[in-house]
Assembly symmetry: C2
């Protein structure tokens, strides 16, 4: 594994740190428009595939039965930052299925959003499983289990029938095997499966184009992407890269971060899917990578492309807020 | 720059992420015992050289004049976690020189320690410059300026005479030039200078061995290292890697982290200095690297070496606390 340097971190004008990675962009037939680095090495997509994992929520009729709108569907695909609006919406999704946070098996952690952490501490409370960045996904799982008549206890386990349902969906969308051999456990206790980024990009291209999927699945994919693009705050949160990226081209790009430097994204109008992994797992580098690739794909729209290129080059500031360096994509990404 | 992979991050049994880097260990004459990767590339040491930057505090007589003991000297070399004991000690150091936090030019940020952040939020207060992880270093700077009769305002600027003093010390200890050409601005607003890790290791070896330095400087170095090894909490804080590492071999190893994946360390009994940089800037990888190198250097003491080797292999856990992966050094580091 020796992928090229795709992101540089400068202090003053000098290189301070560098990030390697692999990136691919393809259409729904699997035809690659861009391939950088080793796109065949299996990587754990982690939270970047939540939109695929949310397909059964829609396909099963659960979302309709519970009257879920864009916000709820966006939260089901989210790595949210534990802000009050995220927490309350996850609570309400569970309540619709007659459940509460005690059903969540994702564990708890303090909010990803610093202001939300301070507010929670000031209130004298502790975080619950609703604050877990994955609580929307888990709430969607639980609602679907209830709707399908599955006993939900243990729904996070590889052996639970709902995880088998998710494996089937992930396999059909990405064409990659998902089984015990390539599985490990994600931070929120559900299985995650190592697959090549070429398969991840293929899956997101199919969902974006609505092609090479069963009709009901294509329709569900379109609905989930539309919901996320309409309500990007509920996919992410204040100051999140995913929010800034989706706001840069409203309704035109879907992006989703995953832990350890993974991104999956899609540009429906171009029918393209994008997947990337920063070798070292750095989120800052993955954010620059996806922004730079999107800027390139949307270069025909100068305003949007310029904004995305800016997002690919965040300043590094001192504790007094003075710019002292920057992060930037290398020519391997921009040329 | 294509340094070898020195640290692997596994999820289950599969490689999830990998970190490259360069490491060197040498004695006070510059003779290298270990060289991995490009040890000549200039890197910004950031906070890893605070013990060198603290030499004038001792050499000038300031520390004695103000009655500073091990705790104060340790805090002057620290990247502390903003816990109450750190904050109060920095305040008292400044008070000894007739100053208060308004003299600090490092900027403020919430404590690095999560419990300290929650406690501060619950108290209804906001962080001050005393909570900045560098406040001990800055307090040492300010005390020394006062003792030397220097106007302290603007003490963080490259042009301030105190920064010239620090440059002279850094050059004499490391043999590397420190000037405008290789300088940039650190997060706490003072200059940081890009130098090869071979020079950083040389400097720490000289300080550890007390050799090839003027007698007063060698004595000051010994006093600072002794203080840090006696009071490692004040160099770092609860749950910090530097605390665990120094506690693994009490009084026998000095370690100091720097931002963006740098470590400097020393083993006085062996007269050796260590410096390393993780290419991508990851702290977790730098921690594993320094622990693995120290385990190797101290292998004649099986208990200590075993503990250090454990610290080089931290578990990755789910949000429910279940181990789901681990970080580990590669054979390039351990063989």
């Amino acid at each position: 594994m020796s992928n090229p340097v795709l992101v540089e971190v400068l202090r003053g004008d000098r290189l301070e740190s560098a990030h390697r990675g692999a990136v691919t962009v393809c259409d729904a037939t699997g035809r690659a428009l861009l391939e950088i680095g080793d796109v065949a090495r299996p990587v754990f997509p982690r939270s970047a595939v939540k939109a695929i994992q949310a397909l059964p929520l829609v396909e099963s009729g659960t979302a309709d039965a519970l009257g879920f709108g864009d916000k709820e569907l966006a939260l089901a695909c989210a790595s949210h930052r534990g802000e009050a609006r995220h927490v309350e919406l996850a609570r309400s999704m569970l309540a619709g299925a007659g459940l509460d946070e005690s059903a969540l098996e994702c564990g708890s952690h303090w909010p990803g959003d610093h202001d939300a952490t301070v507010a929670l501490a000031r209130s004298g409370q502790l975080p619950t499983a609703l604050h877990n960045n994955c609580s929307g996904k888990h709430s969607g799982f639980l609602c679907t289990c209830r709707h399908m008549g599955l006993a939900h206890r243990g729904y996070v386990a590889f052996e639970h029938p709902y995880q088998a349902t998710i494996r089937e969906v992930m396999e059909s969308v990405t064409d990659a095997p998902h089984d015990a051999e390539n599985s490990a456990t994600d931070g929120c206790s559900i299985p995650t499966y190592a697959v090549p980024i070429s398969n991840l990009a293929l899956g997101f291209a199919r969902m974006a184009a609505g092609e090479r999927l069963p009709a009901a699945r294509a329709k569900a994919a379109k609905r989930l992407f539309s919901a996320c693009m309409a309500e990007p705050f509920f996919v992410s949160g204040s100051d999140a890269a995913d929010l800034s990226l989706m706001q840069a081209a409203p309704g035109r790009i879907f992006v989703k971060t995953g832990a350890e430097g993974v991104y999956c994204a899609a540009v429906p109008e171009l029918g393209l899917g994008i997947a990337l992994k920063c070798d070292d797992g750095a989120g800052r580098a993955a954010e620059t990578m996806v922004a730079a690739v999107l800027a390139r794909l949307l270069k025909s729209d100068e305003a949007v492309s310029t904004r995305l290129a800016e997002l690919a080059r965040p300043a590094i500031t001192s504790r007094k807020g003075v710019p002292v360096g920057k992060v930037r994509p290398t020519e391997a990404l921009t040329a």
